[in-house]
């Protein structure tokens, strides 16, 4: 990994978000490079989702969020999306009354002109066909998105980010409610996406999933960055153990029970 020129990376400096005096994100500094699969973990209320809300333009924030050299704060949601920043939500939101194919076609089309928009889709865009295969939904292309299972909806959402050609993907608990197999498939999919020189940030509560697939981890607590590094670094950090297990010394078995086995 290097920080060479012309690389699209995310640099967050002194990010603050407050709601009516409650400070949800309190001076976060964060750098995420392309090819990284960064997990954001932390207890409930740590500010994980608020942080990606701020980056994607959903909530106002102060400080600085630079993506590929462009300041994102103060821009509108759809402008940020057009800069290659995509996100998903805790509850999968797909267009339930449209087919899988239509969902992806819409996601692929933010740059379309009026003339294309006013015509019927005569053929499936190549990027959509590719992504259908990538997320494993080729056979369900003509199914109504509302009839998909929870896991399939999450894959569709990830597929929408890919056809949208997002270079920064922020996923909010993508494996919540998935079976073990679905989780593995999702994790492998995210690793492939990151390997394609994209930047992936994943908010997650599932420690097993994090341990199996994270390239790096940032722990948030009370709106601040508590620790950052590899999975092993973070698990060994006493401050992280304190947040998850309470103050005092902890045995290896206790740590393992909550945070998983250190590699």
């Amino acid at each position: 990994m290097n920080t060479g020129f012309n690389r699209d990376y995310l640099q967050i400096s002194d990010l603050r978000v407050s709601f009516d005096g409650f400070v949800a994100v309190d001076g976060v500094d964060l750098v995420v490079l392309p090819g990284d699969l960064r997990f954001l973990i932390g207890p409930n209320g740590a500010g994980k989702t608020t942080l990606i809300d701020a980056v994607s333009g959903l909530v106002p924030a102060t400080g600085s969020v630079q993506w590929a050299g462009t300041e994102l704060l103060g821009r509108k949601v759809h402008r940020i999306a057009r800069l290659g920043v995509g996100r998903t939500f805790q509850t999968a939101t797909v267009f339930e009354n449209l087919t899988v194919l239509q969902n992806l076609d819409i996601a692929a089309g933010a740059g379309r002109g009026v003339r294309t928009l006013l015509r019927k889709r005569s053929q499936v865009p190549e990027s959509v066909t590719e992504v259908l295969a990538t997320v494993g939904l080729t056979e369900l292309a003509d199914a109504q998105a509302g009839t998909l299972s929870h896991g399939q909806k999450q894959w569709l959402e990830i597929g929408m980010l890919l056809v949208q050609n997002a270079k920064l993907l922020m996923l909010d608990e993508p494996v919540a409610g998935m079976s073990a197999e679905e989780k593995d498939e999702t994790g492998e999919l995210l690793q492939r996406i990151a390997a394609d020189d994209r930047t992936v940030i994943c908010v997650e509560h599932d420690m097993d999933f994090m341990r199996a697939f994270a390239a790096s981890v940032t722990v948030l607590h009370a709106g601040k960055v508590l620790a950052e590094g590899s999975v092993a670094d973070v698990q060994a950090d006493p401050r992280v153990q304190e947040v998850y297990l309470g103050p005092g010394a902890h045995t290896a078995a206790e740590v393992e029970a909550v945070m998983g086995e250190a590699h």
């Binding site: 994607s56 509108k76 949601v77 759809h78 999306a81 057009r82 995509g86 996100r87 939500f89 939101t93 797909v94 267009f95 339930e96 009354n97 449209l98 239509q102 969902n103 076609d105 819409i106 996601a107 089309g109 933010a110 740059g111 379309r112 294309t116 928009l117 006013l118 015509r119 019927k120 889709r121 369900l140 199914a143 109504q144 509302g146 009839t147 998909l148 299972s149 929408m160 949208q164």
Partner: protein
């Protein structure tokens, strides 16, 4: 989709339009009396507004409770031109104005002496109003009930303004007693038939436009906006623009409908543009099936027809029946009559598999969800 199915669906659509054209332009004039044909022409005008409402509300999710404004704009613009054209050449002042005062014609009436200006204005003015209003409200993310109330308030304000300015708008009586239409006498049955045919052609053209918008990529985007507006934003689209476009098309359709209503019916008054007619237009769309292409058209025609024939016999009963019908549809058939067949099919399938498997709920899972 293979070429054959594309062709067959194209032939089916063309065939449908041809059938509609034969019924409206061939059969109806042959079997209906002049009086009934005039009534049908009036219903077709309501159907044009309904096509727009189907697009904005059914597909775009915008509860447009004030389409009477755009209908009224088109209608009053046309009525102003007809009154000016009818005015005696010596003074150039329409009859009702000359009766009320001797101030002459207000300055803002003058441009509509020209037929060309009037025809352009009938399209442009509703469009501009809709664009300004749409961008202003949708950018501020005003939607749902708030948008409905806003559009309704606009209809009320428009009607009140019309009543409050009798010298220039005819007040609560409105504008009536038109003698000619672009040089053709409105007393001549042949000309009245021509007007009816123009209305039928305009309606078919609007249905064709609405169909194209529904099957196009824009139509899919509009449905996406209706169902999950925020998600559309995160894909890099601005929903305000998408919704404003549909709202504007609906407004232009209503404006043209109003402009044709005036020579066909022979009167336009605040009673035709305020809150009550605006809601009346919406009820037809809801009953017919707002998300479909033909549901709004058939619903609007059926409701207008029922209103005329029932209020001939029970003058006060219609309003109650209309309200009752609306409540029944909203409560039991939210998709309107167009969804009756699919709903019944689901219900029968559900019952059959219930008795077969003895497991209620299994059949309720939509196909393809496994």
């Amino acid at each position: 989709m293979n070429i054959r199915s594309i062709l067959s669906s194209r032939w089916a659509v063309l065939g449908g339009f041809a059938l509609g054209a034969i019924l409206l332009m061939g059969v109806a004039p042959a079997v209906l009396s002049d009086f009934r044909l005039g009534l049908l022409g009036k219903y077709l005008c309501f159907a044009m507004v309904a096509v727009g409402i189907g697009l904005a509300w059914g597909r775009g999710g915008m509860l447009v409770l004030g389409q009477g404004v755009f209908f009224g704009l088109g209608a009053y613009l046309m009525a102003m031109h007809l009154k000016l054209a009818d005015a005696p050449a010596s003074t150039g002042v329409p009859d009702f104005m000359a009766l009320i005062s001797s101030d002459g014609v207000p300055w803002w009436w003058e441009p509509f002496r020209s037929g060309a200006v009037t025809l352009i204005a009938i399209v442009v003015i509703p469009a501009v109003v809709a664009i300004v209003l749409g961008l202003a409200t949708f950018h501020r993310r005003v939607r749902g009930a708030y948008f409905a109330i806003l559009s309704q308030a606009l209809a009320a304000a428009f009607a009140i303004w019309l009543i409050g300015n009798p010298r220039s708008t005819g007040g609560s009586t409105g504008l009536n007693n038109f003698k000619g239409f672009f040089g053709f006498s409105l007393r001549d049955p042949a000309n009245r038939l021509m007007l009816y045919l123009i209305a039928a052609g305009a309606l078919l053209a609007m249905i064709a436009i609405a169909r194209q918008l529904m099957v196009s990529r824009y139509g899919e985007l509009l449905v996406a906006c209706r169902d999950a507006e925020e998600r559309v934003r995160f894909l890099g689209y601005n929903p305000a623009t998408i919704k404003t476009a549909a709202y504007t098309v609906a407004a232009v359709m209503a404006g043209i409908a109003g402009a044709l209503f005036v020579p066909i019916v022979g009167i336009i008054s605040p009673n035709d543009v305020g809150i009550v007619p605006s809601i009346g237009l919406l009820i037809g769309v809801a009953i017919g099936g707002r998300t479909t292409l033909l549901g709004p058209v058939l619903g609007a025609i059926a409701v207008a027809w029922a209103e005329t024939s029932l209020s001939e016999q029970f003058p006060s009963g219609w309003t109650y029946l209309q309200g009752l019908l609306f409540m029944l549809v909203v409560a039991f058939l939210p998709g309107g009559l167009a969804s009756l067949a699919p709903t019944l099919r689901d219900w029968r399938k559900h019952r059959r598999s219930d008795t077969a498997a003895g497991q209620p709920g299994v059949a309720a899972v939509p196909e393809g969800s496994a």
